[in-house]
Amino acid sequence: MPQEILLKVSDIDAYYGSLQVLWDVSIEVKTGETVAIIGANGSGKSTLMNSISGIMHPVRGSIMFDGMDITMMDPYQIVTLGISQVPEGRRIFPDMTVYENLRLGAYNHRARPKREQSFENVYQHFPILEKRKKQLAKTMSGGEQQMMAIGSALMSDPKLLLLDEMSLGLSPIVVNELYYVLKEIRSKGITIIFVEQNVRRTLEEAERAYILETGHVVLSGSAESLRAEEKVKKAYFGA
């Protein structure tokens, strides 16, 4: 299947205040791929994700999505184009119901007409959300909140889904469930970039990965080749 490049991040430098956190970072993601970003705390993973979703803007370099330059766009414009981010730490609207949370996911003009269909789609992936739809989001368990956060992102009818530390603080059973749904989502042709702490698991779930260290891409390649890489073994598996 000929794959075209969906996202191209070229040589970006990003700062947090006056502090540089990304140096010359480039990544490329093809349509339909599942790509992981791996790195220690403070390596710049979240900054990279936030630069793609428009929450931060890089100081140098460019980000192209689906043939458009989104480098300096605001998050709401980027969402409308089809990139949806599930941010770190399950940022949901605690005092709204599950239904209202999901409905907001379809806020952008492109997704609004397809709302009913998207609801069905999300309820199919996460049946629990339909059962809980009248419940306030804050009263749900951590796992259910994460499902809702992913559900909201799917409501925006994304082409590219960004998942930042999806399994943080969740029990292994829930994490397994989430990865299972992720496979379903991939099968529908949605491209996925995800950031994780758990290296071994990540390299099982992703097709390709980029490894960040203090804001630099130090390694990249297929998950298989990275698993075999000495350096990765040493740094992350303690072997």
Binding site: Y76, V79, F93, D95, M96, E100, A111
Partner: protein
């Protein structure tokens, strides 16, 4: 009915009705506070803007002040929208103090404009019904006080329907709970902020008219009403319309009961002391978490 009963019933009923006015004054402040975490110190001056606008329409065109709202609401909406768009939005990210200081500048400009245009003399919106009272046994209640409560209910219901049922309303609520997450939902939060400020000012237009019907006002009345609004907001907790209503009624009752049983001249002092005590004891408000 005996005299003791009417002695207490009059301040209680008028306090509750007055609470309606305080609720309307506070709703706008609460909305901006809830969404942008900004205390607009020019809020009182926007309310007084509404009062003077109605006063001008009444004096120069002879219309009923309530009718002036047809023009007053859109005008103040535009003023609020513009304040957010051209002033607050630019300094919003810089620090907490910067919007506060800008609001101060706006307050200074408004107050002195009122001084120049309307003189420092105290004004009021006097209408055919403003001196009338309705009588329940021995109890006399001014008609405007009743109007205050009715208007409060209308504004509250309209606002909560708007927030609950419309997309923009939902976007406003989402932004108040988590701005970052709201942006990632595709909400243009900068625009939502402008709309929120505009709606807050539009509610102030309503508040201004009924304030003018109830009390005399001067160019510097903004500060005491800002403090009352602030008191209502911290009493009622953030972002809750019902909470604001409860806070408004508590302050209304405190004022009328204080005037009756302590001293008429100390009624404002009682409100201020309540605000200070709440700040000292429960800065998160009575109903806050």
């Amino acid at each position: 009915m005996n005299e003791i009963f009417s002695d207490i019933a009059t301040p209680v009923i008028s306090g509750i009705l007055l609470g309606g006015l305080y609720t309307v004054i506070a709703l706008g402040l609460s909305l901006v506070f809830g969404v942008m975490k900004l205390i607009n110190v020019a809020h009182g001056d926007l309310v007084i803007f509404g009062s003077y606008f109605a006063y001008s329409i009444m004096t120069y065109l002879g219309f009923n002040p309530v009718l002036s709202l047809v023009a007053g609401i859109p005008l103040l909406f535009a003023v609020g929208f513009a304040i957010q768009k051209y002033f607050m939005a630019r300094v919003f990210k810089r620090s907490m103090e910067a919007p506060l200081l800008i609001a101060f500048g706006i307050s200074l400009v408004f107050e002195n404009l009122y001084q120049i245009l309307f003189t420092p003399m105290s004004r009021g919106l006097t209408t055919s019904y403003s001196l009338e009272s309705f009588i329940l046994g021995d109890i006399y209640i001014p008609v405007v006080y009743l109007l205050n409560l009715i208007v409060a209910l209308i504004v509250m219901i309209a606002l909560s329907l708007f927030l609950k049922k419309t997309f923009i309303g939902q976007a406003i609520i989402a932004s108040s709970q988590d701005i970052r997450a709201a942006q990632l939902m595709g909400i243009n939060t900068a625009r939502i902020f402008c709309l929120t400020f505009g709606i807050s000012a539009a509610i102030s237009a309503v508040a201004g008219v009924f304030l003018g019907l109830t009390f005399p006002f001067t160019p510097v009345s903004g500060i005491p009403f800002l403090i009352i609004a602030f008191g209502v907001v911290i009493l009622g907790g953030l972002g809750s319309i019902i909470g604001t209503f409860v806070g408004g009624i508590i302050l209304g009752l405190a004022q009328t009961l204080g005037a009756q049983y302590i001293s008429a001249s100390a009624q404002m002092l009682i409100l201020y002391v309540i605000v200070l005590v709440i700040l000292a004891v429960r800065p998160q408000g009575l109903f806050g978490r």
